[in-house]
Symmetry: C2
Subunit: 107 residues, 2 copies
Amino acid sequence: MSTALDMTFAALADGTRRAILTMLLEDDMAVTDVAEPFDMSLAAISKHLGILTRAGLISQEKRGRVKWCKLEPQAMREAIVWIESFGQLEALNFDAFEQFLSKELGG
Amino acid sequence: MSTALDMTFAALADGTRRAILTMLLEDDMAVTDVAEPFDMSLAAISKHLGILTRAGLISQEKRGRVKWCKLEPQAMREAIVWIESFGQLEALNFDAFEQFLSKELGG
DNA sequence: CCGATCGTCAACCGAATGGTTGAATATGCT
DNA sequence: AGCATATTCAACCATTCGGTTGACGATCGG
């Protein structure tokens, strides 16, 4: 079983993909434009975008020939809740922590 | 090149390893005790602990026969800074964001 | 010293990852 | 229609990953 959290963290565990997300912070971009700064084939970037899409971190919408990539920051919320519970326990509300614990240990 | 951030996120991209970290929230544990709840060989758990150690998320100290595993939540700070910049931009101080951007785009 | 316990190492396996290239598909332009 | 652009698909390759098993080294207890 590969959970949503698995896919999110796996997607983030690659510098190319993190750089893509960072680029998308500024604006939506076409696949070709995303690929431009990288020393890598378009097909490789297309795969990376697929991984980011499956992880829910971006969405892709095709308009005409062009497929636009859009950041979906909401998808990181689950990961944020998880990761923050370790470094910033004090800043976390207790309900979320309980839920996270029971889910992680019980599932 | 595999950065610290790569290793951190990769380490977190596995349910078994996240469960181990969760267990270690409660207390330090010996390798054997970490392995006990999992339906998996001790060697497999030992590998997982090695990955977590190399990522800096835990430390291991051998006392006698027993190797104690200790959570190192501080190692997640870099990951937290990175990930929060997407979901909670408004909560981020600007200096950290600038640093993160120049590091990620410039490196 | 002996036997049990703790943990890692080495070799192996199948599946997934990150990349390539070349062909295919879909759309737009003239 | 015909060519160029945008993107994906399919096949392939080397490497890594997550697991196994069996042997091994280190340490404790009697």
